[in-house]
């Protein structure tokens, strides 16, 4: 377990690689942003420098991973967050289960995206590429510097202790291996949009080609963020053991706001790409989205918010982060204020048109971002200014966010049916008549079967079904389903551009998520009861039998395990195990809930602390809860589908790079 010479060398090598990457990034940033007119030769150098930055940061990252895997406790980070008995997967994921390591991961993804732009952006105009890579390098230099000076993951301890103090047990889960990398890929991916926006503002040139380059990156980041948030939500649901899937916790909001803004950006970039309109707004959204991503990462890290996500509790660190954010975001908005007027607007359209619908989408999404932002920051501001401690809880968000989303969902199915420039609302309405009838019918049916437990449930159901079925209206129209022979329809549908399919699937996914949310909110049942081995309890037709209780040791914890059998209304039985673990190194207890899936519904069981041989169990029946995450998966899948469309492929086809950028006015 003692650090061998070889390990010590690799740690110092990693440290050196990170320093070198920062130095290269600093030079690249200066060269790219100041000498951007230098053309192709500088572009080649910057592209190579970007790839080199990635290689160096990857070396640094692998050095830390190696120290964790080999339990090299001369690395302070490994001492604080690892343990030699921990399973391998958690040794690796433990690298980013702390402040320093997560910053390093953040930077790794940042340079990865920079390298991808360098690799795929060969056909970008040299001036634009110089500026984009320059802006990207500036971010690397800023956050790399922050890491090295205030949160160095390569800090050593001499002499090394024999054993580490282990990772927070809640984080010892497969979720940690997946959730942060996905979320970070989403957050950081928006840095590309930010860099492109900076490039457009500095060069004063922006056109449809710009939007065509930016949109795949936005889409890619959005996919990661969608999956990251869904994954985080599911993780919280099964690991934290409270049976909830969304808490409107500031940290969740911090990841949700960039998602909302990124969704708006996807739609506004579409208008810009197709109609050369909404340029200034799209630039503004690009900046906002990445700013919210930064806020998301670092509001969490600054220690202002206390939660499972907070690693830093060093106030000076928080101050440095806030300063970096203020300079970057403030600088971007200053540039925006100075330069936005030089961008020429184009593309006239009537209010009732595809453009109009997309503006409405942006209006509601942007306002929703504003509402969530107010709810998240208001307690912080009030605390700082007035010293009053309040909490803004779920009711606030449900009210404001719900009120903004309802009209958005109502008008959503119309959007894809409206032609560009000028449209006929009545014609679109006729095509949606089928979806509307189906939605009303199903809403009445479900409400009658399930009973109306909360008054808004039918409205939610109606909107969910409406969006889900309305999404297919364009496919039905385009495939001329029912009006021509089936074989012909299928041929037409297969031949449709993939973006049409991705729009339909994306909107359908949203509808499914809404349905899942409504179903769980309205028809979830819960039972808290004392139960001893041999006894049974009943909930929503499911019978739960407590078979036995035992204490078993795990690799680095002791577990109180309850064995249960659950009998479904249909008669099938399944065995469940719910645990309470106590981790050896930290003495910390965690609850491992038992979850059994029936179709899209779940049966959720939590075991309480034993007292005098009695056990309290808390059980929930969650109807159709899986729709929430299934919808998110469908949305992400729709994004992937859209990326495979040849018009949008990353590294756009040759001809798109050719048209000269239009000059600024």
């Amino acid at each position: 377990m003692a650090a061998g010479d070889c390990d010590a060398v690799s740690i110092e090598l990693g440290h050196f690689a990170l320093i070198l990457a920062c130095a290269i990034a600093t030079v690249s940033a200066l060269a790219g942003l100041l000498l951007w007119r230098s053309g192709q030769r500088l572009a080649q150098v910057l592209a190579q420098a970007s790839i080199l930055q990635f290689v160096l940061v990857a070396v640094a990252f692998l050095a830390v991973v190696q120290a964790f895997v080999t339990s090299d406790f001369s690395l302070k980070l490994a001492v604080d967050n690892s343990h030699s008995l921990k399973p391998l997967i958690f040794k690796i994921s433990g690298v980013w289960g702390n402040h320093e390591g997560s910053l390093l991961l953040w930077i790794l993804i940042l340079v990865l995206f920079g390298a991808l732009v360098a690799a795929f952006g060969r056909r970008l105009p040299a001036d634009l590429l110089n500026l984009v890579l320059g802006a990207q390098s500036l971010l690397v230099a800023a956050f790399g510097g922050f890491t090295l000076f205030t949160s160095n993951p390569f800090e050593r301890i001499s002499p090394p202790p024999l054993e580490g103090s282990d990772l927070n047990p809640i984080l010892q889960d497969i979720g940690l291996a997946i959730h942060p990398p996905l979320l970070y890929a989403g957050y950081v991916g928006f840095s590309i949009c930010f860099s492109f926006a900076m490039a457009a503002l500095i060069s004063g040139r922006i056109d449809q080609a710009w939007a065509r380059w930016v949109r795949p990156w936005t889409m890619l980041s959005w996919i990661f963020l969608t999956l990251g948030i869904a994954m985080g939500s599911y993780w919280a649901y099964y690991e934290l053991g409270w049976g909830g899937w969304w808490f409107w916790d500031p940290v969740e909001n911090a990841s949700f706001m960039p998602w909302l803004a990124g969704t708006a950006l996807l739609h506004s970039a579409l208008v810009m790409e197709k109609r050369n309109a909404l340029k200034i707004w799209t630039i503004f959204l690009s900046i906002i989205t990445f700013s919210l991503s930064l806020l998301g990462t670092f509001l969490v890290r600054s220690g202002i918010l206390t939660s499972v996500h907070t690693f830093a509790s060093d106030p000076t660190r928080g101050l440095v982060i806030l300063t970096i954010l203020a300079v970057l975001i403030g600088g971007a908005f200053l540039l925006f204020a100075l330069r936005a007027s030089s961008l020429r607007q184009g593309g006239l359209f009537a209010p009732i048109s595809r453009e109009g619908a997309l503006i409405l989408n942006n209006l509601f999404l942007a306002t929703a971002v504003g509402a969530v932002l107010v709810g998240t920051l208001y307690p912080l501001l009030l605390d700082a200014l007035a010293g009053t401690t309040i909490s803004v809880g779920a009711p606030f968000f449900n009210l404001t966010f719900g009120a903004l989303m309802a009209p958005l969902l109502l008008v959503l199915p119309f959007g894809p049916l409206l032609p560009w420039k000028r449209a006929d609302l009545v014609a679109a309405g006729q095509r949606l008549a089928g979806a509307a009838v189906l939605a009303v019918f199903l809403t009445i049916l479900v409400s009658a079967l399930g009973g109306i437990s909360i008054s808004l449930a039918p409205l939610g159901l109606l909107l969910g079904f409406w969006v889900t079925f309305g999404a297919f209206a364009e496919l039905i129209e385009r495939g001329r389903i029912g009006r021509i022979p089936v074989g012909e329809s299928v041929r037409r549908l297969v031949g449709l551009p993939r973006t049409i399919w991705s729009t339909a699937l994306g909107h359908m996914g949203l509808g499914l998520t809404v349905l899942g949310i409504v179903s769980v909110s309205a028809w979830e049942t819960e039972l808290v009861t004392t139960l001893n081995p041999g006894e049974t309890a009943e909930l929503s037709g499911y019978t739960l039998a407590f078979d036995s209780f035992e204490q078993v040791p795990g690799p680095n914890y002791m577990a109180d395990t309850g064995h249960f059998t659950v009998t479904a209304p249909g008669g099938g039985t399944k065995t469940l195990e719910a645990e309470r673990r106590t981790y050896v190194a930290s003495g910390m207890p965690t609850t491992e809930a038992a979850i059994e899936t029936y179709g899209l519904s779940q049966f959720y069981l939590q075991l309480g602390e034993p007292l005098d041989n009695t056990h309290v169990v808390r059980i929930w029946y969650k109807p159709y809860i899986l729709l929430i995450w299934l919808g998110a998966l469908v949305m992400a899948g729709a994004g992937v589908l859209s990326l495979t469309d040849r018009r949008l492929r990353v590294g756009a086809p040759q001809r798109t790079a050719k048209p000269a950028m239009e000059p600024a006015e």
């Binding site: 409405l360 306002t367 803004v392 609850t591 309480g608 602390e609």
Partner: protein
């Protein structure tokens, strides 16, 4: 919530159309702002320490967050119903909660509970907030303890 229908009428100049659209958008923003402000007034939950509850007075049944330390030896469990005393050193309030308490609920540790004060002055919690590790003491509780001179950093780190 679609565009104002008047916009579609023939014979409006471009300027008027634009004005109508901007007013429509502005209306949505105003409604949203009003909604946010109303919700902020009605839906926020104030944090109270036991001393705050006694000195400032809390309307019975009004939702609040109560935070402090769980008094040593005060936790009584009967089946799934729990009774414990929340203290900030100066004042004590009896709290009731039915259900499974979070993993890290311990006597002598910090706690934040959501609920309301009943007519008899005791607190009925609807939700006891789970904490994420044994060191994490909610900042509100730290502040409240500091206010009462009960803050001992060596026993708990925020």
């Amino acid at each position: 919530m679609t565009m104002p229908s008047a916009v579609r009428r023939k014979g409006w100049s471009r300027k008027q159309k634009r004005l109508a659209v901007i007013m429509g958008l502005g209306l949505v923003l105003v409604v949203a702002a009003a909604l946010v402000l109303t919700a902020l007034r009605d839906q926020i939950v104030f944090f109270y320490s036991p001393t705050d509850v006694q000195t400032r007075g809390v309307e019975a049944g009004h939702p609040i967050r109560l935070g402090g330390l769980v008094k040593d030896g005060s936790w009584v469990r009967e089946g799934q119903s729990n009774t414990f005393v929340v203290t900030d050193g100066a004042t004590e309030i009896v709290a009731h909660y039915v259900g499974i308490l979070p993993d890290l609920f311990r006597e002598g540790q910090g706690v934040v509970a959501e609920g309301a004060i009943g007519p008899d002055g005791s607190f009925t919690a609807t939700n006891v907030l789970a904490k994420h590790d044994e060191n994490y003491l909610p900042r509100e509780v730290v502040d409240a303890l500091k206010a009462q001179g009960e803050w001992r950093p060596e026993t708990a780190t925020p």
